[in-house]
């Protein structure tokens, strides 16, 4: 199966560049180099700014909110007043204050699920690619089984069995990421495993764990970074969607996904209750995707100039 490419190739500008060209570039920590290159791209900067704004709102919003998220301050769906600058929600609570309070949960849940999924997926992908035997077969079969479940359906299957618990959502979102990450990393690592420097280590009897950690892992940093960004974007979408469906944080807590759910029926009367959290989620996911695209472009650019 072909690996989905996230970004197209950059220009290849040197016709017939012989293999003898040594570009002077240190790359002990390749990921640092990629991030540095990425941070020079406009799209990465725009993306970082977008993510930064939302993270600041989520972190410091609760400190500056004029009201608590649960107090009733006006009639349901009341328009903007001097006290509630963006009006009241379907139950008469301050939309602006609930917005400021509602961002933190989705952020930490998405981050935790992403880290879990990428770590597990990378480990599985590297081991599968390196083993090249029955273990690879078994791991990939299990991978296929998990891949068959649409992510949101898998999470909701678990929720209906165990209940709407935040830890469960984090774990299951992570689990559904893992096989997708594993497939990409395995694909990248398989090309590395085929290279002779791995065989050179094999002939010398180098420890297997060291071959995986020193030989394979540093050579898949580009796809790894890209996956990290991509999975973060999807995690945010999934976690927000689950709470939008009503299976995340439970009322009366303030949460962006939940706010959209609570206010969507009164969208024609009081659009702010829906619009604010929708915009926040949109800005956040577009931001993470722009950063990811910047990283992918930088990684491809570096690889091109190195080989």
């Amino acid at each position: 199966m072909t690996q989905p490419q996230t970004v197209e190739q950059a220009l290849d500008l040197v016709p017939e560049a012989g293999p003898e060209a040594p570009p002077p570039r240190l790359q002990r920590f390749q990921w640092l180099g990629i991030l540095r290159e990425a941070s020079r791209l406009t799209r990465t900067r725009i993306g970082l700014a977008m993510v930064g704004v939302i993270v600041l709102i989520a972190l410091f919003g609760p400190l500056v909110a004029p009201h608590t998220p649960t107090e009733f301050i006006a009639a349901p769906n009341h328009g903007p007043t001097s006290d509630a600058i963006l009006g009241a929600d379907a139950l008469g609570r301050d939309v602006f204050s609930r917005f400021l309070h509602g961002g933190l949960t989705v952020l930490w849940m998405a981050a935790a699920a992403t880290v879990l999924g990428v770590v597990v997926g990378t480990a599985v992908g590297l081991i599968a690619a390196y083993s090249r035997n029955w273990l690879d077969g078994v791991l990939m079969r299990l991978n296929d089984v998990l891949l068959a479940f649409p992510q949101i359906i898998f999470v909701l299957l678990a929720v209906s069995a165990i209940g709407p618990k935040l830890w469960l959502i984090v774990v299951t979102v992570g689990i559904t990421h893992a096989p997708r990450v594993a497939r990409v990393i395995r694909g990248a690592a398989q090309q590395i495993v085929e290279r002779d420097f791995i065989k050179a280590e094999e002939v010398a009897g180098e420890r297997r764990s060291r071959i995986i950690m020193q030989g394979l892992l540093p050579n898949v940093t580009s796809p790894l970074l890209v996956e990290l960004g991509l999975r973060m974007t999807f995690s945010i979408g999934l976690v927000a969607a689950i709470s939008f469906l009503g299976f995340g944080l439970q009322p009366p807590t303030a949460d962006w996904g939940l706010m959209i759910n609570e206010n969507r029926l009164s969208i024609t009367v009081m659009p702010w209750g829906v619009l604010l959290p929708v915009l926040a989620i949109a800005v956040l996911t577009v931001g993470t995707n722009l950063v990811t695209d910047g990283i992918a472009r930088a990684a491809i650019g570096l690889e091109r100039s190195n080989e």
Partner: protein, 607 residues
């Protein structure tokens, strides 16, 4: 060449051609001037990065993405290509000028039947006839290249043909429209010598019988010597020497040409090869003055100041060098160095007995028996797929599916490297074919070698850092290379590192798997020199795997010829070259191109 042909107008006339990169403006090739008359073959020779393919493509009005023609004139049949519109250019390509690609495996469309790919080139230039005539022409073209022309064959997809057949299809395609000019881009790279010989013969015959002017782009001097009427040598994007084949090979005048010829091993005689130090001048990093001066022993101040103008030595022999006289006078004549014989020990270091190897259900090796003595170099020669690399991998414990015996100093070895003792692993070290893939790109050279020293601690211990330096100096690299990453080194330097890594373990046997096939000939010669020196210093035994027959005459003490998994000939080098016993060996030797044989300076080894 007959008198009428010399009078003919040249089909190809290139004057002062310059092709540059669009963004940086750096020139890829410059001041290129060539003429090719009908029926004539011009060999364009150069190492990687010299710009030879760029010149070849330019004859079709094609410049690769990111570059453009920045000056000069290309005339085909008297028509200036720069005056042609898109439509006329399209009619030129495949109609008047044809192209034979380097690798037909990637140049033929995998999704289309060969009949489709052959017919469409006729359709695109159709001036007369219908589908029936075209089909008849396709069959005729296939017959001209000695391929079957029945419907069954035409229905094949490229992957169903062998490499040689694919190349013939590409040649049939190129000649289908009876072009006036043909550009061959190293069309025999990757073919075995027998197929190569047949393909070259086909190209030569077709060019002669149809009066086609051919540009033959190649890095292989021996092939060019056998095929070309005229030769132009490129270095750093310029032609540094050109003339008739005899002028160029018998009386080379540019220092680069002379050094290049000394780097080429020849099957006609055992001789030392001498590498050229330094590396090639690539677009964007070419020095001021003569591009070759950093590598040239005659370089003086004038060489560093200005690129030399053309010196005409008469009869069309042109050179761009200030010191032609010095170069010719001072450099030793070609092929004079006789390789010295080493004392080969009595004791067997590596013994291979009745080795049978399988890959899945397919048997790759059949009863292979080979001994490598102390301080001996045994070469395993064979075409790709013959099983020579599998043999090496069984010895190293990389390939585990084998039966029989592989022994080190009489002690049988386990199949897999991991089942062998550390001492056994230390004694047998492996150097891989492609130095671009055999070093971890994320480890410094120092880390790579230090790790090997930790796995196989040297006698007496000592400081690892100092040891790493010693290892690097042993392969003529400076100790400061330890801080570098593989991509900061050239291919030749990387291969030196790979050798240093193998030697760090102080092995008894070095398995060299096509260690020079990814390198340019001038770099190959330097690596061969190095291996020779190391053998003398360290008393190493070598199992040397190669498909280059000329090379083995220079390096090997004994030869095992492998084909289809069988060793068909095994004996001392000179004996095999002077009186080969197997038909297969005779055929191989007869088909291997040789400069000396082509020039009539020597006779083919087996004839």
């Amino acid at each position: 060449m007959s008198a009428t042909e010399t009078i003919r107008e040249p089909s190809v006339d290139v004057i002062d051609l310059r092709i540059a990169l669009t963004i940086s403006g750096v020139d890829v090739v410059d001041e290129i001037g060539v003429q090719i008359r009908p029926g004539e073959v011009l060999g364009l020779v150069g190492e990687s990065g010299s710009g030879k393919t760029t010149v070849g493509m330019a004859l079709l009005g094609h410049v690769r993405h990111g570059g453009h023609v920045a000056g000069g004139v290309i005339r085909i049949d008297g028509r200036d290509l720069s005056t042609l519109g898109e439509r006329e250019l399209r009619h030129l390509r495949g109609g008047v000028v044809s192209y034979i690609p380097q690798d037909p495996g990637t140049s033929l469309n995998p999704a289309l039947r060969i009949s489709t790919q052959l017919v469409e080139i006729l359709e695109a230039h159709a001036t007369d006839g219908g589908a029936k005539q075209r089909m008849a022409r396709v069959r005729e073209a296939l017959e001209e290249v000695a391929l079957p022309s029945d419907d069954e064959f035409l229905k094949n997809y490229p992957h169903q043909l062998s490499g040689g057949q694919q190349q013939r299809v590409a040649i049939a395609m190129a000649f289908a429209n009876r072009p006036h000019v043909i550009v061959c881009d190293e069309p025999t790279t990757g073919l075995d010598v027998t197929t190569q010989a047949r393909v070259l013969e086909t190209v030569r015959d077709l060019c002669q019988s149809h009066h086609v002017a051919a540009l033959y782009v190649s890095h292989d001097l021996a092939v060019v010597a056998e095929l070309a009427d005229h030769v132009a040598v490129m270095y750093g994007g310029r032609i540094v020497e050109s003339g008739t084949r005899d002028q160029l090979f018998a009386n080379p005048c540019h220092p680069y040409t002379r050094r290049l010829l000394r780097a080429v091993p020849d099957i006609a005689g055992k001789r030392t090869v001498v590498g050229i130090p330094g590396h090639a001048a690539l677009p964007g990093s070419r020095p001021q003055g003569c591009y070759f001066h950093p590598r040239c022993q005659f370089a003086r101040d004038d060489c560093r100041a200005e690129f030399p103008p053309i010196t005409d030595l008469g009869e069309g022999h042109r050179v761009r060098c200030y010191h032609v006289a010095d170069a010719v006078r001072q450099a030793p004549p070609e092929g004079a160095g006789q390789a010295d014989r080493r004392a080969v020990g009595e004791d067997v270091v590596l013994g291979i007995r009745d080795l049978n190897a399988h890959y899945g259900e397919t048997q790759i090796l059949f009863d292979v028996n080979i001994d490598v003595h102390h301080n001996e170099c045994v070469a395993l020669v064979g075409e790709s797929g013959s099983g020579k690399t599998t043999t090496a991998r069984c010895v190293a414990g990389l390939h585990k599916q084998w039966t029989g015996e592989v022994s080190l100093r009489g002690e049988g070895l386990a199949r897999g490297a991991r089942q062998r003792s550390g001492e056994e692993r230390r004694e047998i070290q492996y150097v891989f074919q492609n130095p671009y893939a055999s070093l971890n790109p994320r480890s410094t050279i120092g880390q790579t070698i230090a790790r090997r020293l930790k796995l196989f601690p040297p006698d007496g211990g000592g400081d690892i850092g100092a040891k790493v330096g010693e290892c690097l100096e042993r392969v003529a690299l400076s100790a400061s290379a330890a801080d570098r990453f593989p991509d900061q080194l050239s291919g030749g330097e990387r291969q030196r590192v790979a050798i240093a890594r193998a030697l760090a373990a102080e092995p008894a046997l070095l398995v060299c798997d096509e260690v020079t096939s990814a390198l340019d000939v001038s770099v190959q010669a330097a690596i061969i020199e190095l291996l020779g020196e190391l053998r003398n210093e360290m008393g190493l035994s070598l199992l040397f795997i190669t498909h280059d027959h000329a090379l083995i005459r220079t390096v090997a003490d004994r030869i095992a010829v492998v084909t289809a998994g069988h060793v068909v000939e095994y004996g001392p080098t000179e004996q095999i070259f002077t009186s080969p016993s197997a038909d297969y060996t005779r055929k191989l030797l007869a088909n291997t191109p040789s400069i000396e044989v082509a020039l009539g300076q020597a006779t083919a080894p087996s004839s």
